[in-house]
């Protein structure tokens, strides 16, 4: 039995890199939910349902990693995972057609602000983008977050890379460990 078990939700569109990220971080393979995709989406495997991975940090401490499809019609799966989250990672696949509606849906549904859950937006498949191109997308994403009253880190991530993947955990940890008390209760406008 785990003494401490925290949950990280990773949500994103098809091919964004959820399974890859979970594989990179966790020490065990995700459950056998990998199935041959029936539609040709340019990749061989797509995940049906929830991806699951686990990062054991100590004999009785673990972080559960839940990969969730990004479309609203899967909100039933979102609800299964969206209870006392340690963090929420939204994976966005870099490219011309970023689906901003889907990101809106995710934020509306998960309500991270209400539960004080740290959010990070990771932009994957972006290793060949120029800084200028990337900047434009980051700007858009910032705008979308602001629409939800959120200020969150938005950063390129390569789920195939250990260090880049761990950076996400490091960020969420930092946001979870902020100075909760005192502070100036100034109303900043």
């Amino acid at each position: 039995m785990d003494q401490i078990y925290n949950k990280l939700a990773i949500v994103g569109e098809v091919g964004a890199g959820k399974t890859q990220l979970i594989n990179t971080i966790s020490e065990i393979s995700p459950f056998a939910t990998e199935a041959r995709s029936s539609v040709d989406i340019g990749k061989e495997y797509t995940t049906v349902g929830i991806d699951y991975g686990r990062l054991s940090l100590d004999a009785d401490i673990a972080l559960g990693l839940f990969g969730l499809p990004g479309q609203k019609r899967f909100s039933l799966l979102w609800d299964m995972v969206n209870t006392s989250l340690w963090g929420l990672v939204i994976l966005v696949k870099y490219g011309d057609g970023v689906n901003i509606d889907a990101i809106d849906d995710i934020l509306t549904h998960f309500q991270p602000l209400k539960d004080n859950v740290p959010v990070i937006v990771g932009v994957s498949h972006s290793e060949n983008a120029t800084a200028d191109e990337l900047d434009v997308l980051l700007e858009f994403l910032e705008h979308v977050l602001q629409g939800h009253g959120l200020s969150a880190p938005i950063m390129p991530v390569d789920p195939r890379d250990i260090e880049s993947s761990l950076m996400l955990l490091q960020m969420i940890d930092a946001i979870n460990n902020t100075d909760e008390y005192e502070g100036a209760q100034l109303n900043v406008v």
Partner: protein, 275 residues
Amino acid sequence: MKRIACISTITQHPDEGDASTQLMELYNSTRVYNRENDITGVFLVSGSSCLQIMEGNAESLASAIYRMGRDSRLSDFSVVMNCNNDIAEFSGWKIRIISSGANAHLDFIARLKETLADKIQAKNNHDNARLDSFFGKPELSANVQPPTLAAPTDVNSTSKKTYDNCVISVSAWPRPTQIRMTPELIRICSNLTKRPAHFERILALNLCSSTEKLTHYLSALESLGLLKTHSSVGTPNLRVVNNPPKATNAATQTVSSTADRFSRVLKRFIASAKA
């Protein structure tokens, strides 16, 4: 080389996705065209108003204007600046979405205003009102930095500025394209995007290895337009540094010590995995 500015209103097509998606498509179509025709500048959006400032050769600009005048996604199209310029002010074609509370852009707009606004001429009251949504806000001048547009942040420049008597907050996370995210910067942003704190308080949190480093990061954030400083004069209570009792009952204490332990173990794991 010519510089042209035009203002327009973005028309909503409710059946074609939400406003952000439509905006992105609109920007994308200008991006492709402008890249092919060596047009640089900025695509500014505030609410439903769109102000495009473009530099390039006269012919390319003329056909860009022609295209936009016929784009059904834009209406009330009006050219508000048309002048010659010797030096390019912009290096690429970028979008800036000016929304209320987005401090990051106030600084940019302030510099833009300083450099270009006197050359912009509204033809009528409607243009004026739309331009006001970009340049008109009185608080814009509060943040004015030296007026240069080409200012990539030099994070290594030593700054003598101190924040000793300031209450500080960070309005938004910097983009990794603007500044390198280090663990120290992550800690600063995590703490200060949530709520403002007095400089002494931040020092006491040991977010950085030295006071100089902290000051250095804060001034880097300031030059990106992301730092809000509030003088604490007249608000002495903000100087309190002592930690109040963290948790008053046993249950909350357990929660926080569990979180502490998780965080400690995770940090150790990350450090060893990176090594």
